[in-house]
Amino acid sequence: MGQVKIGVRGHVVKYFPGEQERFLVDIAAPTTVLHLLERLRVDHLLIMMVHINGHKQPKTAIINPGDEVLFFSPPAGG
């Protein structure tokens, strides 16, 4: 049992629980990014990029208790 620190960057924060851009999530065991998003009821297609502990990772990557996970919104323009 442990906690994961979540950060959400950009406009998709409005689709996260409570529209919070920083929060903690309890996880009982290592899980994947995709599973974590499913638990948060966030469509993984809303997320452009994921960093775990400061490094870019695929959505299939494993998250461990104590990790810091940062979700990025897609830039809307260019």
Binding site: Y15, E21, L46, M48, H51, G54, F72, P74, P75
Partner: protein, 615 residues
């Protein structure tokens, strides 16, 4: 008038004279600035039915009340003119540093009219305004011209220029500034070319009046601190907008092979990581930007060694995916070529993708092309056509008028895959499986542009097969995003950082002394949206619903492969979206604003022109 420099500069190129007038207070009160000034001044001052490339058209440049102030992203400039591409309302904006400079010189708007008899450039040094001969610059590249003028005048000048494409009146020429930022859309550079105006150089030294300097400083500090505190403040910047490339492919919305499909298998060769690892030199910011999206790059390969700002996402999508140039170096090289020629990289990639498909289908023959074919994936072919377009050589003379007119010329069913709305080429999001995004492109006032409303995440979150709620959200975004173009701020702090919209009325109050809630500010934006619609209704015969449809490809051809395979948006779906959109806007089913809506918006002055169109 706090927040405003207090003056309008008028330049008459025919007679080579200029005049400084006070900024009318009611213009500032009712239309705020930037895009608002552009829309109102176009309505009032460009004679109805003016030839977009004749002396009666005017170029309007307008910063906003927050431009140049101490807050994140305060560096945008709005350009406007009657668009030679659409024949209706046209605007385009640019970042960099020229917008604050114009205000420091003392101006809230510059209105350029007439037509010079020989090439000229406009030199503004505070209130000293001069029109100089530019024969020595004519024919030079856009960035080459900026370099030459900096050399001639000094580094302290902020300069915007056109390249050969603008001179030769290519309908998708772009205005270039700060070595790689462009006001690319709707052909404002074409209007500059028609006026023989090669460049505008500005230097200003004056402060901009603030209602409350102490509050502005305090609020600005809070705003920057809030940006710094956002999750991922530092992690987004390295790739900038190019970082979205993989995601757009993941959701099946990436323009590929002239929008034949929406997924490009080689996208990882042209994404943000490829840009950073292979070609980036430095991040390059517009005025007061904490998260610079500008990536300045160098590409060195046998045969070339060039510097270019970019490629940013739109260029990657339209040059990379849409013409299938599958490596970041060649994308950057093609980007450099169109930048120097002064072609909008979005429309250029779209038009050249169209030409490649025409060649593939035998609609353009080897005979038309001086014995060659145009092939997707060939950077040589891309460069060859780009140069032909900019100089209006051979087939380039037809393509130079954009895909709508080129398709009308070529016929043979090519209009089915001429990917535009209102004569302005579609940008970097394929929308056959994104109804809100589709509606955004259809109804954007300037033509198929993403910056009025960007709604793909909304489509994903609310259900890509559902139509309910889409029109409502598109309208909300069409008021929020253009409000940034009225204040002349960059919207990326809001979109990319999640910077709260509530900040803007607070700094607006500190700078201007005016108290407006964000909702009240949005009402101004809705007023301008109705005014730009009225402008196009006045200028384009038969304008209305028929001009709000996407190309037939999107209504008739299912996407062949990728994550959105099989998706298409039939005409009845398009009609449902439009019906609801017009209802919610208070427009009739032909897309004409009702008298009640115009009155509600304080636009009674357009009613006399619009009323006869309703019957």
């Amino acid at each position: 008038m706090n927040g405003y420099a207090g003056n309008i500069l008028r330049v008459d190129l025919t007679n080579r004279v200029s005049r400084i007038e006070p900024l009318p207070e009611e213009l500032a009160d009712n239309f705020i600035g930037g895009r608002g000034f552009v829309a109102k001044l176009m309505w009032d001052e460009i004679p109805a039915g003016a030839d977009p490339l004749g002396p009666d058209n005017k170029i309007i440049m307008a910063p906003g009340p927050l431009t140049g102030a101490f807050l994140p992203g305060a560096g945008k400039l709005e350009f406007g003119a009657k668009s030679p591409a659409s024949g209706g309302y046209g605007d385009s904006n640019v970042g960099g540093h020229i917008s604050p400079e114009i205000k420091q010189a003392g101006f809230d708007a510059i209105i350029i009219s007439g037509q010079a008899s020989t090439p000229v450039y406009l030199l503004i040094d505070d209130f000293n305004v001069a029109i100089h001969e530019a024969g020595h610059l004519w024919g030079k590249g856009a960035i080459e011209t900026e370099t030459a003028l900096k050399h001639e005048l000094g580094e302290q000048y902020q300069i915007c220029t056109i390249g050969p494409a603008g001179e030769n009146k290519v309908l998708f020429a772009c205005i270039s500034h700060d070595f790689g930022r462009q006001a690319g859309r709707t052909g404002i550079a074409t209007v500059m070319g028609s006026k023989n105006l090669k460049a505008i150089a500005v230097h200003g030294t004056k402060g901009i009046p603030l209602a409350d300097p102490k509050a502005t400083l305090a609020k600005g500090k809070e705003m920057f601190a809030a940006c710094f505190a956002k999750p991922g403040f530092e992690e987004w910047t390295p790739q900038g907008t190019a970082g979205v490339t993989d995601w757009v492919n993941e959701v099946g919305a990436f323009p590929t092979r002239n929008f034949q499909t929406s997924y490009f298998p080689q996208h990882k060769n042209i994404n943000g990581e490829a840009l950073v690892s292979k070609i980036k030199v430095t991040d390059k910011a517009c005025f007061a930007c904490p998260i610079p999206c500008g990536k300045y790059s160098r590409v060195k390969r046998p045969g070339y060694d060039v510097y270019v700002e970019g490629p940013e996402y739109e260029t990657i999508a339209l040059i990379g995916g849409n013409t299938e140039i599958d490596n970041i170096e060649d994308c950057a090289f093609a980007n450099y070529i169109v930048d120097e020629l002064g072609l909008d990289s979005i429309s250029a990639g779209n038009v050249i993708g169209f030409a490649m498909e025409c060649s593939q289908k035998g609609i353009i023959t080897a005979e038309d092309l001086g014995g060659r074919t145009l092939n997707f994936g060939s950077v040589d072919d891309f460069v060859w056509v780009a140069e032909a377009i900019a100089h209006r050589r051979g087939i380039g003379a037809i393509l130079a008028d954009g895909v709508k007119r080129a398709a009308a010329h070529f016929g043979q069913g090519s209009e089915r895959f001429a990917i535009h709305v209102k004569g302005v080429e579609w940008t970097g999001y394929e929308a056959r499986y994104a109804p809100a995004m589709m509606l955004s492109y259809m109804t954007a006032d300037v033509g198929a542009h993403h910056n009025r409303s960007w709604a793909i995440t909304f489509d994903v979150a609310s259900g890509r097969d559902k139509l309910e709620g889409k029109a409502k959200r598109v309208i909300e975004l069409q008021h929020i995003r253009p409000l940034f173009d009225m204040l002349c701020l960059c919207r990326l702090q809001w979109v990319e950082l999640g910077f709260e919209l509530d900040w803007y009325p607070q700094i607006f109050q500190a700078v201007t002394g005016k108290t407006q809630s964000f909702e009240e500010l949005l009402k101004f934006s809705e007023r301008v949206w109705n005014l730009t619609r009225a402008y196009s209704l006045r200028e384009i015969p038969g304008f209305g619903r028929d001009f709000d449809y996407p190309p037939r490809r999107f209504m008739e051809e299912p996407i062949p492969d990728g994550p959105a395979a099989g998706k298409v948006m039939p005409r009845e779906v398009i009609d449902r979206l439009l019906d609801e959109y017009y209802d919610l806007r208070g427009w009739d089913q032909r897309g004409i604003p009702s008298g009640a809506k115009l009155a509600e918006m304080g636009l009674d002055f357009v009613e006399g022109v619009i009323a006869p169109l309703r019957s």
